[in-house]
Symmetry: C2
Subunit: 203 residues, 2 copies
C-alpha cells in the first residue's frame, strides 16, 4: 500500500550532530518526498537509565577534541555557522521544552533558531534569556512560548516523549525512525533514513 | 609544495566499521590519487588506558543491536558479505600481528581476507586455525606467516604501532590520519579523509 512517506526525527537540543541534521533535514526530506515529525527528547535521561552521568565520549579527551574538529569541518562543508558552546554539554531541558511547546508548523523553524543560537552563536540556551532572542528570531513571542514551555502539561509531555524515544530504541541523537520502526542513528545516516522512508511508502 | 598524497589507515581486526573501510579504501584511494599506509593496532589497549574493559557501545543494548542492523544495511549497500561474528567482540591480537607481519605489498590483500573471514564468513580469527584459510586465500603461506606473526620482533612492533596510534590521537577504528596530522574517525569519514589528503598534497 503506497502512502505518504514519513519519518520521526528525534533530537536533543544539546546534541552537536542534531544541529547538523536539523539544518539539513528539511531540504533533503522535501527532495525525497518524506514528511518529517520533529520530536525533541532528553538524551541525558536515557543515558542516566544505564548509569551514565556524562556523554560516553568524555572518557576519551582525544575523542571529544575530534568531535569539535569534525564539527568544524562539517559545518564548513554545509555552510553553517559554528561556535563551540561553552560550557558543553549544556543543560537542554528548557530548550527541549520550548521546542516541544511550539506547534508542529512552528517547531522546525523554532528549533533551527535554537540550534543556530547554541552552536552558531554560543548563546546560553539553557536559560530563558539565552532562548528569548532565538524564539523572537523565529517570529514567535518569547514570553508566551517560554510560559507554555514550563507548563505542567508541556513538562509531562516531554517526559512522555523521552519515554517514547526510549521505547523506540533511541540511544543517541539525532535518530531517525521510519514507519516500520527501523532506526538510523546520526547525521551521517540522514540520507539513508530518508531513502528508506521513501522506499517503504512506495512499497 | 606538491607531493604524493598519502594517508595512514589505522584499523583493528575486531572493528566492524574497519571491515567496511578495508574493503572500500583501495578503490577510493586510487580514484583520489592517495597512497594508503595500512596500520593495524589494538584498540583494546587504548580503551584499557582510560579504564574501559569493554567497547563503550556495550552499555547500551539498543546501541549494540543497532550497530549490527547498520552493518547489515551498509554491507548490503556496498555489496559485501556479512555474517555477525559470534562471539563479539573477539580477541584480535593474533589477527593484528598477522596483518602487521605481512609485507606492505601483501598487507592490504591479506587484511581484506582476514576481515572477510571474520565478518563475512564468521571464521574464528582469534585462533591460528581460523586465520590459516584466510592467509592461504591471500596467496600466502599460513605456517610461515603465523610464525612471523608471533615472533618477538613482530609482537614488539605491534605494541609500538599501538603506541604510535595513541600518540596520533587515535581513539577508535577505523581512523584516517593525513600528513598534517588531521584525524578522521570512522568509515563514514573515509571519502572526506581522502579528499583532505589529496588537497594537502596539491597545496
Amino acid at each position: 500500500m503506497a502512502g505518504q512517506a514519513a519519518i520521526d526525527f528525534w533530537y536533543d537540543p544539546a546534541s552537536t550532530y542534531s544541529y547538523l541534521a536539523a539544518m539539513r533535514i528539511e531540504d533533503l526530506a522535501e527532495e525525497a518526498g518524506v514528511a518529517v515529525r520533529w520530536r525533541p527528547f532528553l538524551l541525558g535521561a536515557i543515558f542516566k537509565a544505564v548509569g551514565w552521568t556524562a556523554p560516553p565520549f568524555e572518557a576519551l579527551p582525544t575523542k571529544t577534541r575530534n568531535m569539535w574538529r569534525d564539527m568544524e569541518r562539517l559545518t564548513a562543508e554545509y555552510g553553517l555557522p559554528f561556535a563551540k558552546p561553552d560550557p558543553f554539554p549544556f543543560n537542554s531541558v528548557l530548550a527541549a521544552r520550548v521546542s516541544l511547546a511550539a506547534s508542529e508548523a512552528d517547531r522546525p523553524r523554532l528549533t533551527r533558531a535554537i540550534y543556530r543560537a547554541a552552536f552558531g552563536e554560543r548563546a546560553d540556551v539553557s536559560r530563558p534569556e539565552g532562548l528569548a532572542p532565538a524564539i523572537a528570531s523565529a517570529g514567535l513571542d518569547p514570553e508566551a512560548t517560554l510560559a507554555a514551555a514550563v507548563s505542567a502539561e508541556n513538562k509531562a509531555r516531554l517526559r512522555e516523549e523521552t519515554e517514547a524515544a526510549e521505547a523506540a530504541g533511541v540511544f543517541g541523537a539525532p535518530t531517525f525512525v521510519t514507519a516500520d520502526g527501523d532506526l538510523f542513528w546520526g547525521n551521517d545516516r540522514l540520507e539513508r533514513a530518508l531513502a528508506a522512508a521513501r522506499g517503504l511508502a512506495a512499497a
